[in-house]
Amino acid sequence: MQSLLRLSGLIDTVNRKVGVGVGWLILVMTIVSALNATSRKLFSASSNAFLEIQWYLFAAVFLLAAGYTLLSNEHVRVDIVNTRLPSRLRLWVELLCTALFLLPFALLVLYYGWPYFMLSFSSSEWSLNAGGLILWPVKLLIPAGFLLLFLQGVSQLIKLAAALSGRLEAGPLLDRHSVQEDEVAAVLSRQSGDGGDR
């Protein structure tokens, strides 16, 4: 169990690093898009490469952040029944759903996504648009993102099993709405004085 928990910790670290890293791509894509819009208006100069890089970056953000989002428990849920159940039962529900919903789905996309990428890679496929970009790196994002998601699923399973056997606290695994808590903390820290994060 200890080595499994170490594995889980390792996966968490990887996904956290990747998630925080791809966050910066948001800033990059914002700047790229704004520059493209400006050059289109001012100099009537725009290219398909500029347009394509935007959705390449966005695809990278949301696919590679999938594991991180799962780790942070930010994938939306319908909470009405679930939050009323005893926490042990909730852990079981979580465990079974991860094993039966998430992992098979991620595996299936991986299974079909890899040949889909390989086909593009081996033929060095380029975008059909004039001046477009090379396509295989963006197709690689599909198996990469779902691999991260799959790994995070495994890590969640380990933690859930550990929580059920009493080796880990259940609380953090079931907590919801952390964004909301962030928001409250942010507002309060600004209210409570001009220190805070100004």
């Binding site: 704004a34 819009a37 319908v78 039966l100 889909y116 963006v138 928001e183």
Partner: protein, 493 residues
Amino acid sequence: MTAWLIEYIGPLMFAGLVLFLLIGYPVAFALAAIGLLFGVIGIQLGLLHPELLQALPQRIFGIMQNDTLLAIPFFTFMGLVLERSGMAEDLLDTLGQLFGTLRGGLAYSVVFVGALLAATTGVVAASVIAMGLISLPIMLRYGYDKRLATGVIAASGTLAQIIPPSLVLIVMADQLGKSIGDLYRGALVPGLMLMAMYAAYVMLVSIFKPSAAPALPASARTLHGKALFRRVLFSLIPPVVLIFLVLGTIFLGVATPTEGGAMGACGALVLAALRRRLSLKVLRQSMDTTAKLSCFIMFILIGSTVFGLVFRGVNGDLWVEHLLTGLPGGAIGFLIVVNVMVFLLAFFLDYFELAFIIVPLLAPVAEKLGIDLVWFGVLLSVNMQTSFLHPPFGFALFYLRSVAPKSVKTSDIYRGAVPFLCIQLFMVGLLIAFPQLATVGPRDLDAAPTVRLDVPVSNDFESAPTVFEVRPQDLDNYWGPATTGEGPNREKP
């Protein structure tokens, strides 16, 4: 048994979905799981091609290329940067200073700030929490009725769902196959009307029950004359200008929504920096939340695509169509039933689930009945706004509960929401009676993002077409000017 299963596989799949969703596992994966489960059953029954699931990466790739949804991260990022740099507090404080000494003045300023925040961010949670933490204590201290105070905060927070640039409308545009600009223009008048009606309600209360919305004593105003003027100049004007620039350029067709969002986000960064509030922490938090929010929205779309692929494969869409076109009263009967259904579903599903699961089922039927899809989208968006206000599960109420002082009872928050729910329903009724509210003004004629041509490829099958993206200007060469924005073979979503 098999024949029975084939006959009822559509309804069974839908029932299964409701069950899976209620378990409380993330919606994206519950959708995908039910899709896969019934995909396997369908293949066993011979209803589906075994290659169906193989088309999954192709489908995901299609979602990655989606131009419409690219606007989501930009507007989210813009809103979060403004929010995290303390805009809401400054606005509330400034407007409170300006209007506080009027009867009901604090409530008006909440409505107004709600609308302003709505016009910068599509995130309900942030608005409700900020207003709940800042305005609610002041309102209570000066004797506002608890129900009025909480109701107006929760309702004004949900304006973010309907006033452009709301995320909801972007998703709706994508699901209906319309341009974002069209939905923004369509939602503008109803959104402003809602704001006006909230304010009118506050006015009625302050007239008939003055003790519920008292004026603040003059001593509560801390800024006067020049200081107040400077405050207005520096905290009120810049965000308002930014909003007008972003929405204005989109409405005038100068910028696409994606470009407008990106420029707006850059503008928000500049504003925050000018006010010396752009710390690394603010930047990091904003990027982090944007990444997670985009991720969960896009994954619901991926999940609902898996679900939809199989659901259509087993003819579930025909079942829905049959159910809804057979209603008495034609288009009006359909609209009423759909709105009642959405209102009820909104009790336990929230916006993104409704938009991604229900809308693709309804849109083809609406189109067949000759209903204008932009109007239909705006109508559903106003209706779905109630999903935040429904006791006991509405998110806005939930957020407000978490920040409201103990002296406010949960039942006060629930009752406070009721008048605003009524206003919301009234607006739905108005929209059904007067479609012009959402359809006035020009439509995007040439700004249709891309026209998709589905070309079946040899030994492929219908549900996995190869998609070639064609931009309108390319179409000109083939079919003359794309005056209607709709070339031949325009794909329905």
